[in-house]
Symmetry: C2
Subunit: 346 residues, 2 copies
């Protein structure tokens, strides 16, 4: 009996295209022979916007639904006004497909070049809320462009939205050896949203007596990310704090070239989307300098999400082995992709 | 002719009291003999709140106005519900006295123990907006405590508020050798507030043609704080991003034990307030382990703000020399204060 994996691919802009190609290469190499991979490519991003003015037409949003998962490279270019593609494409997808779990693992692979190399093991995941908070796009501007302008941004937080992501984080913590969950917020200043988060966190926690919990303000959390990242196991946090903390996490572990992410709808009502945390890096696009490892690790998250645990493990092991074997000479995007594909099929 | 410096002192809680004592010791030692120091101590913080339920009574707020500056240690204790002292005392002071420039310098002193020791020179200042943004306390909660709760936080930003702090940052950048100013925001997601900041930043920048500018999203900024902090000279940013970035800045330079801050009203309409960035650290209060250096460096900022440039320089040099001379054995709070006082008067 053969199975089919229906994958929507959004290569996007700049290095997005280059790294997605390597992700697909590794995916093809690792998939069991009885799984048939069907991909459909979507031309979305800066190029499309320049050509047609469209970011994500309804028909394409509809057709994206008809897939098991989405693999995205990176979108964005300095030639597009800030916010157009972010709000009109990336965030539109996260919101439309209710990607409420934005999953971002951080692991210090051996032999990685980082200010913290040689430190005790760093291995934590950030469960970032993906559909609420300051990201809802609920803002406005009055007397725009005048000396009397007032601009607002509203952070919206609901018990429903907070509880489902907090519960997901407890489940993940429960399943890990250390069983530790840290809530990060700023409840001494953002008291309304902060207290909602803290109350839900405490209440749901009573259902997970084996999970050890603690709370950190976001500012204090950044200090521990630098001085003591090994203290973290699972972190759950709001959309904006998660955005900031996961870039920082990437910086203190392997660098943004290794940071993968999943925009997950755990209910399965809509396809989940997997993407490297890095951007389209137009400055190095076309030079072959982009490290496709984050895209490949995003493929591992995708495999795990779709139940291909063994294949996900193999991809992650291939990355670990490849990093350990890296010499000093630079390799091209393609060479790294080839090496990883060889390892997973070897 | 003798001059008087009228100083309001809020020692606060935990190590706040211990470090403020050292700050005053150094201040006394460095002040020229023709300056008379008059201090008035205010009993505010967790102890006061437990005793009377008060955070900052109007009469005390009034009487605080009647000073040249305020020196604050740290307030807060786990026994006080989160937000009570922050909103009722600390932020109340910043807002009532219109402390719109929250100034936080970061310098990697030689011989400091940090993950980045041995890196190229790090010497930047963060000019954090202090009276707007997500800190305005404009939020609410509906159906609180039920599964249908909705909680909001509104970030308020005005052209007036953004322009005055941006202008202050340009002035500071203009006065420094590198003349570089970086705006940090998240204008690809928080488009209304972000565009206000960016437009004002660009417009005011035309008056400072010698200042080189750039823009970073807050998530990307955290990466550069770790991988390339030497690229920064002056950073201007919003209240919440500034809170997060300055703790991170402390972590990558000398640690939170060295991070000083000034809550400044540049118009002089109200007294400015100087405080270490660190908290009251109840876990080490009373042990003599607190490093008073951040409080002493806050005194240097205070001196500079009041026009005592030479004395401010002497305090900063004393700290640099003391750090360079530090052996491996720990010293008590008091011993460090004594050493610094000896250096400034020596
Ligand atoms: C591009 C931007 C909208 C996005 C975000 O802020 O979530 C990115 O920074 C990320 O972390 O995926
Ligand atoms: C205690 C808290 C209200 C405060 C802030 O968030 O501004 C502190 O973190 C700081 O940075 O001074």
């Amino acid at each position: 009996m053969s199975r089919t994996m229906r994958l929507a691919v959004i290569p996007g802009d700049g290095i997005g295209q280059e790294v997605v190609a390597q992700g697909l290469k590794v995916l093809n190499a690792v998939l069991p022979s009885d799984v048939k991979l069907e991909t459909r490519e979507y031309d979305l991003g800066a190029r499309r916007w320049h050509a047609t003015g469209e970011t994500l037409p309804d028909a394409e949003l509809e057709s994206l639904k008809d897939h098991d998962a989405i693999l995205l490279g990176a979108v964005g270019d300095p030639s597009v006004p800030s916010g157009v593609l972010e709000r009109g494409l990336l965030l539109k997808l996260r919101f439309a497909f209710d990607h409420y779990v934005n999953l971002r693992p951080s692991k210090l692979f051996p032999h990685t070049d980082t200010p913290l190399a040689g430190r005790p093991e760093i291995d934590f995941i950030v469960v970032r809320e993906g559909t609420e908070g300051p990201y809802v796009g609920n803002g406005g501007s009055l007397r725009t462009g005048t000396p009397h302008e007032v601009a607002t941004e509203v952070s919206l937080n609901t018990a429903l939205g907070v509880e489902r992501v907090v519960r997901d984080a407890y489940e993940r913590a429960q399943a890990r050896p250390r069983k530790k969950l840290t809530l990060v917020h700023k409840n001494n200043v953002l008291v309304y949203a902060g207290h909602l988060w803290k109350n839900v966190f405490d209440r749901v926690g009573r259902e997970y007596p084996e999970v050890t919990t603690d709370y950190l303000h976001v500012d204090a959390a950044t200090i521990f990310f630098v001085t003591q990242p090994e203290r973290f196991d699972v972190i759950v946090t709001d959309n904006l704090f998660g955005d900031i903390l996961t870039d920082l996490a990437a910086a203190v572990t392997g660098g943004i070239g290794l940071a993968a992410s999943g925009n997950i709808n755990p209910t399965g009502a809509f396809p989940s989307m997997f993407e490297p945390v890095h951007g389209s890096a137009p400055d190095i696009a076309g030079t072959g300098k982009a490290d496709p490892t984050a895209a490949v690790l995003s493929v591992a998250l995708l495999l795990r999400h779709l139940g291909h645990e063994a294949e996900a493990d193999r991809v992650e092991e291939a990355v670990a082995d490849d990093l350990a074997a890296r010499g000093t000479g630079p390799r091209t995007t393609d060479e790294i992709g080839d090496a990883l594909a060889a390892r997973v099929s070897g």
